[in-house]
């Protein structure tokens, strides 16, 4: 399930579900038919054959219980879909999965990847981690080559649907690739919420087909997600 924002969820929860008894009944009969064919002795009991009716007698005079509801201060948390760097440069953000210890960022260098094990935007704790190509042998310069120019104090915006949260860059560091997970704490999911952008930098080793370092940009949220 794609949890976009809790507020949206709770809104959709209030929407009445459409009932299509005809379809459901026909599916029940399909199941019955198949189970009969399979030779098992399942007792097909459609929903409406229960001893309990939909509204038991004597209920009409009883008042309905109060409905619990979200407080107005419910925090918005969302999976980022768009990232905007200074100068209005915007890239699409796709979920990125870790496979065998390697974060699989989008092949398309104009997209960046949100590590799906990291914090959603607006959570109170943990890093929201987004990584993207600085360049690629097949596609050339990547969107995150722009990070080579970013500096402390710059603003980065993450958005999804109508929600957004801005971050102020607090540090830009070059970290040896092997030390990324250990020394930089880039992937830390405890502590105050922050944004961590990762790309490659340092010396390019043509023989190894890659760079020897990662560039790690850290940003602090400006307020809460809206």
């Amino acid at each position: 399930m794609t949890t976009r924002a809790i507020q949206l969820q709770s809104r959709s929860r209030r929407r009445p579900k459409r009932h299509r008894p005809g379809l459901r009944r026909s599916i029940v009969s399909v199941v019955c038919l198949l189970t009969a064919l399979s030779g098992c002795t399942a007792q097909a009991a459609p929903e409406n054959s229960s001893s309990r009716g939909d509204a038991p007698a004597g209920q009409s005079s009883v008042a309905p219980a109060r409905q619990g509801r979200p407080a107005a201060s419910q925090r918005i948390e969302f999976i980022p879909e768009r990232l905007t760097l200074p100068g209005h440069a915007t890239a699409g953000v796709l979920p990125a999965v870790t496979v065998d210890g390697v974060l699989r960022v989008p092949e398309d260098v104009e997209h960046v990847g949100w590590w799906d094990g990291s914090a959603r935007v607006g959570e109170p704790f943990g890093s929201t981690v987004i990584a993207g190509h600085v360049d690629s042998a097949t596609e050339g310069i990547g969107f995150f080559a722009r990070l080579l120019k970013i500096k402390a104090g710059d603003t980065i915006t993450l958005r999804a649907d109508s929600h957004q949260l801005k971050y102020r860059v607090t540090s830009v560091r070059t970290v040896a690739k092997k030390a990324l997970a250990t020394d930089s704490q880039a992937f830390r999911q405890t502590g105050p919420h922050r944004l961590v952008l990762i790309t490659c930098t340092g010396n390019f080793h043509r023989d190894r087909g890659g760079y020897d370092s990662n560039l790690v940009v850290v940003g602090k949220p400006l307020g809460v997600a809206r």
Partner: protein, 256 residues
């Protein structure tokens, strides 16, 4: 929308049929498909309550701050009765949709001079990020709108009786206290240590009355399926060398 849903139903039906065929055992499909469930949260201080759904007893002597269940119910309009020693304390109807879950809470109103009431908190079976917990706090105590301070910060702000707030938090033990909205005292409750369970929905209910020293929490933990992949050890995001002017195809360095 409708065709998508229909397709899902057909898929489900085929899957169910397949499972039944493979299993070759006697089961009742209507029961197997029924995941409409309720839990009872007993938030009334000093009472051991018996609980009935549609007149049928489901739990006896449920103590203050205890959670009982799950109880499978038929979707639709149901009736819950809380009684003590054969006398009805509370009786209300509630509606529940197929596949939904709800906590049915008997509790005090915001003002301790008012009558107890039943509040129904409905929720879905959401996925929880790996190594984290979904924390849902609900205010069902005899206190005015409150802030819930976690590790000395307001994490849940201005929450009134009958309301709830939710967050995803790392697995840890938190110091929790309840204070009036925007204030730091009087402390209605706490501080207490609360350890959240990872990969689960942790539903926490603040119950009781601080004036009678009956404040407490009822905690309902529901194991959830998790989402998200593990922590990476490597991020390789440059294979061309163009960004440092060492590329095979592009000699143009756009950024420097």
């Amino acid at each position: 929308m409708i065709t998508k849903r229909a397709a899902r139903w057909v898929k489900l039906a085929l899957l169910a049929a397949g499972v039944l065929a493979l299993a070759g055992v006697t089961i009742s499909p209507s029961y197997a498909a029924n995941d409409t469930e309720i839990y009872i949260v007993q938030g009334l201080p000093g009472k051991d309550l018996d609980v009935a759904i549609d007149g049928e007893s489901v739990a006896k002597d449920v103590k203050t701050a205890a959670v009982a269940g799950p109880f499978k119910v038929k979707p639709g309009s149901r009736m819950v009765t809380f009684s003590e020693n054969g006398t009805t304390v509370l009786e209300n109807t509630f509606s529940i949709k197929e596949g939904s879950k709800a906590d049915i809470v008997a509790h005090l109103p915001a003002s301790s001079s008012g009558d107890p009431l039943v509040t129904v908190y409905k929720y879905d079976a959401v996925k929880v990020p790996k190594g984290k917990a979904q924390l849902v706090v609900s205010h069902v105590a005899a206190v005015p709108p409150a802030d819930i301070r976690v590790n000395d910060q307001v994490l849940f702000a201005n929450i009134a009786n009958g309301e709830s707030l939710q967050l995803v938090v790392p697995v840890a033990t938190y110091k929790v206290s309840i204070v009036p909205t925007g204030e730091t005292k009087p402390v209605f409750f706490g501080p207490v240590s609360l350890t959240v369970k990872g990969g689960a929905i942790n539903r926490v209910y603040a119950v009781g009355d601080p004036e009678k020293k009956t404040m407490n929490v009822a905690v309902h933990v529901i194991t959830a399926s998790t989402t998200g992949s593990g922590k990476p050890s490597e991020v390789n995001t440059g294979t061309g060398g163009q960004a440092v002017g060492d590329g095979p195809s592009l000699a143009v360095n756009l950024v420097r």
